[in-house]
Amino acid sequence: MLDITALSLRYGKHMALNDISVQVGAGESVVILGANGAGKSSLLKAIAGLAQPDAGAGVLFNGTSLSEIPAHRRVEYGIALVPEGRGVFGELSVDENLSLGAIPRRARDGESQRRAGVYALFPKLAERRRQRVGTMSGGEQQMVAIGRALMSNPDLLLLDEPSLGLAPIVVGELFGALTKIRNSGVGLLIVEQNVKFSLSISDRGYLMEAGQIVGQGTAEQLSNSQTVKDAFLGSPGDPHNQTQGAIK
């Protein structure tokens, strides 16, 4: 479904992404793990069209090259981004945010069923349809952001650190919802630092370090990998340990 090849991206002289290749199959759930500044967000931005990669990068989605497609048109192809910081419309109500999510043409048919689906997925939002999103908690805003993305009827949902800044119990709820989304057949590409939860809902994963893919494997392989344990799962030695090497 998504096929990224030879993608490099720089901010001025700083090379944020260096020759990245990432694949996500239809309905597959994939996680990208990496420390702060590894380039995970930049990769999602490049896929969503919000950052411009160097010439020569291949961004194929369902067989179509997206390289020349501006960000606002990519939703139409079935890619929806839930950005870091959520990017919700704080002055608008929950319902209005969802309505805006359904702007793409591909989202017009079945809009009301999809809205009902979002409210079934997040019952907390159903109670607060008319509430201004800006007045809601971080977890609720994250739900609105995910719900809004789902309203566009996406084939692939890009999630940039959905658990960032949320209380553990809320993170649990959130990943419960993501599991349901995954089971409904929507592909997921998640960027996370919360390794435990994100691996638990993923089929495969990539490890990123300093703008490069330094390892990949199935979720099971990554869960058992010493590298991942050392870097993220807080093994007894040093909880602040950085990614040391790669599993190839």
């Binding site: 501006p70 606002h72 048109r73 990017g87 805006l100 702007i103 793409p104 800006g134």
Partner: protein, 291 residues
């Protein structure tokens, strides 16, 4: 005397509210501080005057001609003047500065054209200039009509902005432009439409004002300033805020003029404006963080 002051204040405020609606769209959604806004109003007033005197066309009917013309002209101006500025602007602040400079130039261009065409005299025409009684207060029928039109169009626009997806998109872009692309909104297209719609509303205000006020080719700047005060009072990009703030400003001016001194109305307006800027810069309905 209080009733009469309130009625006159509301009628005056209706005009202010209507004049401010377009500017709040242009400034709030399209991010263009259009200093030539008042000239758009005056141009529409002259257009109505010409239609009325030369073709004997009823000003209410003229709305159907002048308002679409205002929309198309603003759309064209956005394409020719604003689009290159928006394309090269590094950020919202630099676009704001560039647009202020460009529309400041446009102000004198339009004013010059109006001066050449109509001279610098005060112009008016007589339409529905018959007294009617409202709550025991006698006012000219054309003023009452202007108020009704302001509430009708202002309320209608408010419904469009809150009930339609299109209106929601406008409000979304006004407060969170960086998220627009996430839902498939082309921010440039939305800005263009908002600017053109703002021009249409300026034209509407111009038609309605011409029904009961005298106007002159050089009078646009007063409208721009009053509209700007209302826009800031109501919160930039907030249509309901502009409606309420417009009515409020009219009431305040009427009260100051009646009970203190007519010469102080302008001073009172800008006094309130200054206080707002100091203590509530996001407007009477403004919330922290909403731009």
């Amino acid at each position: 005397m209080l009733t009469s002051t309130l009625v006159l204040g509301l009628v005056l405020g209706g005009t202010y509210a209507m004049a401010a609606l377009g500017l709040t769209l242009q400034y709030g959604v399209a991010r263009i501080m259009n200093l030539a806004y008042g000239e758009f109003i005056i141009t529409a007033s002259f257009a109505t005057y010409v239609l009325f005197t030369a073709l004997n066309l009823n000003p209410v009917v003229a709305i159907a001609l002048v308002v679409p013309a205002g929309f198309l002209m603003s759309y064209g101006i956005y394409f020719i003047v604003i689009r290159p500025l928006a394309a090269r602007a590094k950020d919202a602040a630099s676009l704001e500065i560039d647009s202020i400079l460009a529309t400041f130039g446009m102000l004198f261009l339009i004013q010059g054209l109006l001066l050449v065409s109509f001279g610098s005299n005060y112009t008016n025409y007589s339409y529905l200039n018959t007294p009617v009684e409202v709550f025991g207060v006698v006012i000219a029928a054309n003023r009452l009509l202007a108020f009704v039109l302001a509430i009708f169009f202002g309320g209608g626009l408010y419904l469009v902005m809150t009930r339609t997806r299109w209106g929601m998109a406008m409000r979304a872009v006004a407060t969170q432009p960086e998220s627009a692309a996430l839902v498939g909104l082309d921010i440039n297209k939305t800005a263009r439409l908002a600017f053109a719609l703002g021009g249409a509303l300026a034209a509407l205000a111009g038609v309605v004002i011409s029904m009961h006020e005298t106007f002159t080719a050089t009078g646009g700047v007063v409208f721009t300033m009053k509209a700007l005060v209302v826009v800031i009072l109501g919160g930039v990009g907030n249509l309901l805020g502009a409606l309420v703030a417009g009515l409020l400003l009219g009431l305040i001016e009427a009260l100051v003029s009646t009970y203190i001194d007519p010469g102080l109305t302008l001073a009172a307006t800008y006094g309130i404006f200054l206080l707002m800027l100091l203590w509530r810069p996001t407007g009477i309905f403004g919330r922290a963080g909403s731009r």
